[in-house]
């Protein structure tokens, strides 16, 4: 219902932005896929590189597709994004903590 009003306010983005974002996200995915498939490196460094690539992927999505820097009214999206980041990191870190079964090495 509000859609019509909003498009006129923001104007249109050039397709270049989307194409660049699309290519970037494909490239990032391809790199991680090849790394996982070919076992080119040992496990430790591969993990770190995969996590960094995942972080970059988030940034590509946010800036190229979701226009995180734009918007009017109160910055609700920043608050939501912050909560999302807290949840994401909490879940990832705690999952690693749970799933390493580290007590078994005592």
């Amino acid at each position: 219902m509000e859609r019509g009003a909003q498009t006129t306010q923001h104007g249109h983005h050039s397709p270049t932005l989307y194409i660049v974002g699309y290519v970037l996200s494909l490239v990032l995915t391809a790199i991680s896929f090849v790394l996982a498939l070919t076992h080119a490196m040992s496990l430790g460094p591969t993990m770190w590189i995969l996590m960094i690539l995942a972080g970059l992927q988030i940034l590509v999505q946010l800036f190229f597709f979701m226009h995180v820097t734009e918007g009017d009214g109160p910055p609700y999206h920043s608050v939501t994004l912050l909560i999302g980041l807290i949840f994401t990191f909490a879940i990832c870190l705690m999952s690693i903590w749970i799933m390493t079964f580290h007590y078994q090495s005592y």
Partner: protein, 656 residues
Amino acid sequence: MPQWLHTFGDQYLMWNEGPLIWISDVLILLTGFGIVFVLTYFKKWGWLWREWLTTVDHKKIGIMYLIASLLMMFRGGVDALLLRTQLAVPNNHFLDAEHYDQIFTTHGTIMILFMAMPFIFALFNIAVPLQIGARDVAFPYLNAISFWLFFFGALLFNISFVFGGSPDAGWVSYPPLAGPEFDKGPGENFYLLALQISGIGSIGTGINFLATILKMRAPGMTLMRMPLFTWSVVATSLVIIFAFPALTVALALLLLDRIVGTHFFTMAHGGDPMMYINLFWIWGHPEVYIVIMPAFGVFSEVVATFSRKRVFGYTSMVASLLLISVISYFVWAHHFFTMGAGADVNTFFAVASMAVAIPTGVKIFNWLFTMFRGRIRLELPMLWTIAFVPCFAIGGATGVMLAAAPADYQYHNSYFLIAHFHQVLIGGVVFGMLAGMYYWWPKMFGFKLDDRLGRYAFWFFNIGFYVCFMPQYALGFMGMQRRMYVYPADMGWNTLNLVSTIGAYLMGIGFLFIVAQVLYSIKYGERDVTGDIWDGRTLEWSLPSPVPHYNFAVIPTVTSRDAWWEMKQTGQIQALRPSADEIAPIHMPKNSGRPFILSACFFVAGFGFVFEWFWLAALGLLGVVICLILRAFEYDDEYHIPPHEVVETESALGRL
């Protein structure tokens, strides 16, 4: 019978499995023919398509969610009665082990995902836009997609009973039991695909309602003036948005294990079945807060309305809702304390789990203080709310017992656990949803549900609940494990199991009374002529019942909490009754048949994946892509209701 028919019947229709299947086949065919006959005889096909299948109106979508969830409550309830019948006496062979496994799996999955979820979405859709003074949700088209994805997901899940075989690895569906080695056949695929499809719809609903509430409130309605039900929807939507992706991932990986041959959750080739359990509960624990928080919202509305007092401690109510939604992400490992992740992990999650009791306790006390010295009217919504308080308090207390990690090694997977989570889910969610249904029913349909039949339903259901589940706490302590389909006669469990089964049947009678109540009230229920049948406090009660499809002829300006109540107290009701010259053209979304078709394509694709008929899956996904492309090039999806039409509607309602 020709040989091919015989083979087909046994392989896909499971005719070799006995009378339960045959009876279901006959009933489904009769119901199907009945519906087709009635629609054709009364020439209602066009009406069905124009008014319901293509609608983007949040009120109609809410009604469809409500009908679907009541039907699913019937299916899940019949499952429950079959289970309890099997367990009524020792060494029973009413069901065999395989059928028992299938029935407890479908009971759990249906009750959580296809009964509780659509029930909360029904109340979201019915109440939220009206409470915040909006004309629809932020994305009405997405709202329709969410409903139809849920609908076809539920259809896919239910069809497994008579076509292909039901899933049988429990509602949690843990590998390796649910993996390709131990669970052959399409049953488990039905579970994975059905949840996946309806899960997309749930995420859509979460996003939709968060955007609606943040962006579309009436002027003057600041966040801290919002009704508490709307606040509970904010908290719930946040949890939906961040929890459901974990389920999507878990289901997708397990599906890949099953049909492509990957090894995410196998012990061989570096997989780890416990990772599925971890991912499942990252979603699974927030999920139970997703279904309970809207119930909290309903109780806040009902308690204030029927005590004729504003709710006690509004700010602490909001704070505790948000606190619950945050803590809900830090407790999931309490579902698998016995995995043995270590004392430090278990300690952290035990303490976090117990911490949930604090904000919940705050809410319980606030409801009690709201009732304190209020002028309480014991109408049906209030009755269920009052029944909720002790029931949920006991359920919460046994929850804290389970949260103590060392003790949990004793309770884990016993009937103590079963009794606990039924007590919070029935005593909290079902009571809350029924309270909400009774409360907003006049708003939806324009008449009240009959009081006398409702009281019979209430007492049968409540007494039945305690008769059914209190013995199960004891059975848990006596060593009875969940999911056992038969038990020997010398365990000392016989009497308690029989009592529990009697309780289950009492609850079944309670449900039948609700059905009777609805049917009776359609004809004889008290009509709601004022639109404010409960003497309500929030904006939805300022509108006529049922609400015209544009909701508000003129968007109200809000100056306080409990806006409608304040207007009534200060005699400003006329401010909400617009004069004819104030009415401007109303901007509305157009109906669309595409959400229905898109979701049907998802159903076809899901069906293809279930049986690994990849050509069919590809065909379905192609349909999905075509629908998406068509939507991308659709520009003419809105229209304006001309003022004279609004004036006519409002005059006919006697509001001008």
